[in-house]
């Protein structure tokens, strides 16, 4: 029971980070059907900028929450500018090009951003300063940290705010109209270029916060961290139904939970010594004696599950859990 509850909490934490990152993928895809592969790198740069700000302020007299806030407030606008620049300089000129061109450009942008980060922050993983006190709460045998609670609360707040923005404000209405039909939205006076730029900016801003949360949670940042994180968040977006905002949230949380639970149990489940009959068989008896273990797949297989789920979704439900039909476009 305790491992179950523990992994639920862990999964909810990483899942909500995935969900926030996935929103950046799904919003852009929903409007221009582009998979912005550089989004993971934008998240990484958010984490890096916050790292620099927090590290340089950490020795001073400012209280910890203020320093953390300063890190976020530096990361968000930086990433928004990067998101805007990507759209304006790299994707907009290719708006009417064949779909492969912007896709490859996105991969190129991802590599460029990664290597810019390499130039600025160096090749070594850096310890993300843990300046906040991190109280620990015990609930039914599971440990919840203050950071986890903070991440979950902040993520859900951002998701609620975005939902409100998209469904309740008229700019949100313009975003949804553009996603449904760019040309008709334009005929109604919606400036599609502005809407598209705005989705990049909003996605990048959310990504920046996600980057800071990720750095705070794992305590480490690295110039390649955006790659895996981005791919997982992308998987989450596909899982939920790419283009669908609620889908990205559900997909992210679900992916986090599956990943955590699978990681938590796979070691035990593939421990051949625990398998009836096998443990005492002549082959394994030597290894299994006195509570020994023979684990086939350990928790280092963590990253596999995200992509396993991606494959399963693509095979059995390509439009995702909450997927909107992708065809039917004028």
């Amino acid at each position: 029971m305790d491992i179950f509850l523990q992994q639920i909490i862990n999964g909810l934490t990483t899942g909500s980070v995935y969900a926030v990152v996935a929103l950046g993928y799904t919003m852009v895809y929903g409007i221009i059907q582009l998979i912005n592969f550089a989004h993971g790198e934008v998240v990484m740069i958010g984490a890096m900028v916050a790292f620099t700000v927090i590290t340089s302020l950490a020795g001073g007299t400012l209280p910890a929450p203020v320093i953390l806030l300063a890190g976020v407030l530096a990361a968000v606008p930086t990433c928004m500018v990067i998101g805007y620049t990507l759209e304006r300089a790299a994707y907009r000129p290719l708006r009417h090009a064949p779909r492969l061109a912007p896709l490859i450009t996105a991969i190129g942008m991802s590599i460029i951003l990664q290597h810019l980060a390499l130039l600025v922050w160096g090749r070594n993983p850096m310890a993300f300063p843990q300046i906040m006190e991190n109280p620990v709460i015990l609930v039914g045998g599971a440990v919840i940290t203050g950071v986890q609670i903070g991440i979950i609360l902040l993520s859900f707040t951002m998701m609620a705010a975005l939902t409100w923005f998209v469904y309740r404000t008229r700019f949100g209405i313009a975003i949804r109209a553009t996603a449904e039909n760019v040309r008709v939205a334009e005929l109604m006076g919606v400036n599609a270029n502005r809407v598209i730029a705005a989705t990049f900016v909003i996605g990048a801003g959310l990504g920046a916060v996600a980057g800071v949360m990720f750095g705070t949670y794992y305590g480490i940042v690295h110039y390649t961290m955006g790659f895996t994180l981005g791919l997982k968040a992308f998987s989450a977006a596909v899982l939920g139904g790419i283009g669908n905002i609620a889908g990205a949230m559900v997909g992210g949380i679900l992916l986090g939970l599956v990943e955590a639970l699978a990681t938590g149990y796979i070691g035990d489940l593939t421990n051949l010594c625990r398998w009836p009959g096998l443990g005492t068989s002549s082959m394994l008896a030597e290894r299994c004696v006195d509570g020994g273990n023979f684990v086939v797949f350990g928790s280092n297989y963590q990253d596999v599950f995200a992509f396993l789920m991606l494959i399963l979704v693509l095979v059995f439900r390509p439009s995702g859990l909450l997927g909107e039909r992708v065809s039917e476009r004028a």
């Binding site: 404000t169 008229r170 209405i173 449904e180 040309r183 008709v184 005929l187 109604m188 400036n191």
Partner: protein, 256 residues
Amino acid sequence: MTSALLEARGVGKRFGGVQALKDVSITIHQGEVYGLIGPNGAGKTTFFNVLTGLYPRDGGEVLFAGAPLNLASPHEVAKAGIARTFQNIRLFGNMTALENVMVGRHVRTHAGVFGAMLRLRSERAEEEAIRRRSEELLHYVGVADRANDLARHLSYGDQRRLEIARALATEPRLLALDEPAAGMNATETAALRVLIDGLRTDGLTVLLIEHDVKLVMGLCDRVAVLEYGEKIAEDVPAVVRADPKVIEAYIGTSAH
């Protein structure tokens, strides 16, 4: 009644080797309901798409309210004061009827990302005004009771009305309706006729493309007839109806 709102001069359009429009000139006067008819494939919808900026034109010019109409981007056309509906309905199906109309208000208001996020007082007031105006428009076309239903759940006739409400939301000087009666039953068509009549009474200029010749002849102040991309007649309905060329185009005499 005599001042020209829209003047198309020598408008042409080619699709590859097909000359879809050839030297079409029409003048739509302020406050009239102007009908554009013609057999299938005569180029009605193409002409329409050229006027509303969906297709670039090949030659000719279009004057709107005396000034050349810049057809570079559709949202500029909307801003200039031309709104349209579509032959195949193109509502935002996953948005509510009210939201569809609210999108139309975009052209006359200034919506910014940051304003919307910061909830400035002016922003809230404007949004409230948009909502009220949109509700009025739904009421005007007669679908107020479906305001909060998704557009794709509305009946066919209601969808057509909703599209008109959405177009009206842009405060057009010219409302262009592309086959609004297509697929409607007799009751719905009669109601549509009342609606368009009301628009004229309220001073709006309407360009009506329609298959239903009876509707056009009964409703329009003046009618133009297109055949094979060329205008073959333009006059008041009674004259057009009697024009031998029009009769030939519609009924056909001997084959060419």
